[in-house]
């Protein structure tokens, strides 16, 4: 493996990885669903509750100030992590799903009219399909879908053909959770912008694994989840360009998001607080900040090149299994191996691997249109992270041999 990538010492940072499951050492290959947490993230949560816990942006007392400082420091870390222009462009949400819903309900309801068009792709997670379907139902807009090629890439020519002056919004996934494909979101954004459409990039799967620069991509919105980025559950991010966010109406209302309230008139607070009604997940935000520090310490370039090696190793190994078919074979993909095994149902694969201590995901991965595209009900999916090893992939291969033995 990559010289200098100290996977064995990295693994020690993740207490859960030293467990046994069903009597076997845990082989955790379900990172696209959620990632494990390093000790420093776990510590940051308990440290917050033990020493700082207090509400943010409200009190004059010391703890409230400390909590606010830590909470806002995490926002700065997130800004720099994705290279946003300013902290006020970073809105805390519960996760990718809520970030997308925020845009659909606030920007969408305000700007999308009957006859307008919204473009998404055929490889979206349900969370980047359903909010747009509902918005279309509500407004009379039309949803258009960029088709997928056999290797699992977006058909850019078809995308160009779908774009028109009716297109008001384009929302695409950066890295597909079901196929692993990494889409050229910079090009997709530029094409949409040339027609005046606004672009959202679903970065749930990309932010944990590659350097993201939202200004370089040029997108108007970028959404991701803390829990897939080695941070806690319940916290996520919506990045939005400030000029776009400024013109949007609040998504939820209550405390924190207002500047002044009388019974005649409410003046909304400034960004980002305008979109952060109510007491937020303070501990979660601080924990996400700790996760970002951790990832930065290892370095996303090192992570990315190590994970690429794991992918190449895993792909080569799985390709040797005659009845195994990898779904998603783009040359530009993240460390995700989605596959079918003859006519053995993925649930059967998952159960037998589980009995070997191997955790993979089986099913449609909340991306049913992708399954339909390939004419399959489901896949088995091994998704890797920088704490996985070549040996674990060997264990997966042995597990698959076991499945074949049972079903031979």
């Amino acid at each position: 493996m990559t010289d200098g990538f100290k996977v064995n010492s990295i693994r020690k940072d993740f207490p859960i990885l030293s467990q046994t499951v069903n009597g076997k050492p845990l082989v955790y290959l379900d990172n696209a669903a959620t990632s494990q947490k390093p000790q420093c993230v776990i510590d940051s949560l308990s440290n917050y509750y033990q020493t700082v816990n207090s509400n943010v942006h409200r009190g004059v007392h010391t703890l409230s100030q400390l909590a606010t400082d830590d909470y806002e420091a995490a926002r700065s870390k997130i800004r720099s992590f994705i290279n946003a222009g300013s902290d006020q462009e970073i809105i805390y949400t519960r996760g990718t799903t809520e970030s997308i819903n925020l845009v659909a309900y606030s920007f969408g309801v305000q700007n999308i009219r009957s006859g307008d068009e919204i473009i998404i792709s055929g490889m979206e997670h349900h969370s980047n399909i359903v909010p747009w379907q509902l918005l279309c139902e509500q407004t009379g807009a039309v949803l258009r879908i960029i088709p997928i090629t056999d290797s699992g890439e977006l058909d850019i020519n078809q995308y160009g053909a779908l774009l028109s002056d009716k297109t008001k919004l384009v929302s695409v996934v950066h890295q597909s959770n079901a196929l692993g494909t990494i889409n050229s979101v910079k090009e997709i954004t530029a094409m949409a912008h040339s027609l005046g459409a606004v672009v959202l990039v679903d970065g749930a799967q990309s932010a944990p694994h590659m350097k993201v620069d939202v200004q370089d991509i040029g997108c108007d919105f970028f959404a991701f989840s803390g829990h897939k980025l080695y941070g806690p559950t319940g916290i996520g991010v919506l990045y939005g360009k400030s000029e776009v966010l400024d013109n949007m109406v609040p998504y939820q209302s209550g405390g924190e998001m207002i500047k002044s309230v009388t019974f005649d008139k409410t003046i909304f607070n400034v960004l980002p607080h305008k979109f952060e009604a109510g007491t937020p997940d303070i501990a979660g935000a601080i924990g996400l900040g700790a996760a970002i520090d951790y990832v930065n310490d290892i370095g996303l370039d090192a992570i990315n090149s190590y994970e690429s090696e794991l992918l190449a190793y895993g792909t080569a190994k799985l390709e040797q299994i005659a009845s195994l078919r990898i779904i998603g074979t783009s040359s530009h993909k993240g460390a995700v191996l989605s596959f079918t095994l003859g006519d053995i149902h993925p649930h059967d694969i998952g159960t037998i691997l589980d009995s070997e201590g191997i955790a993979i995901r089986t099913g449609h991965h909340c991306a049913q249109p992708v399954m339909e595209r390939y004419g399959i009900p489901a896949t088995a999916r091994a998704s890797m992270s920088f704490y996985n090893t070549k040996e674990e992939i060997d264990t997966l291969v042995t597990g698959i041999d076991r499945v074949l033995e049972v079903f031979s």
Partner: protein, 150 residues
């Protein structure tokens, strides 16, 4: 197939289950069925369709259960079709309740005497997430019979 006893894992894929999976019984369409019903599990895409013919004694004279999904689902569907053949249609509901009780993961004891087929399905309780695969054909037929009788 290699003998499962060689395999180290707590096998739910025993010979009986695998036999019903590989050679599912009662998959031939029934002509002029009295009951037709299908259901699916939206989380995993498993699908079951049931057609039943009933004779003048109110007994099941023909049953066809088609299941699309994992081996456990297909084996459960096949076993159910065998166990319910010739049963009185009104008894299906009680049969369902008994079966549901036996599959209850909170009572893991295997004290009740049951047929080898039911015993094989019961081992699946060790994998609680897979119990829904076992149950889908049964829930489908319960709903089918319920609406026929009402």
């Amino acid at each position: 197939m290699s003998s499962n006893s060689e395999l180290q894992f707590d096998g739910i894929y025993d010979d009986l289950i695998m036999d019903h999976y590989r050679n599912p019984r009662n998959r031939n369409p029934i002509s002029k069925p009295h009951i037709e019903h299908s259901d699916w599990n939206p989380f995993c895409g498993d699908e079951v369709s049931v057609t039943i013919g009933i004779n003048k004694y109110d007994r099941i004279s023909g049953i066809c259960v088609v299941a699309e999904g994992c081996s456990i689902l297909q084996a459960s569907a096949s076993i159910m079709s065998v166990l319910l053949s010739d049963q009185k249609i009104a008894d299906v509901l009680a049969f369902f309740e008994d079966f549901k009780y036996m599959m209850d993961t909170s009572c893991l004891s295997s004290s009740t005497e049951v047929s080898p087929e039911i015993a094989a399905l019961r081992t699946i309780r060790k994998y609680p997430v897979r119990v829904k695969c076992v149950m889908l054909p049964w829930v489908t037929i319960r709903d089918a019979v319920k609406s026929y009788l009402s």
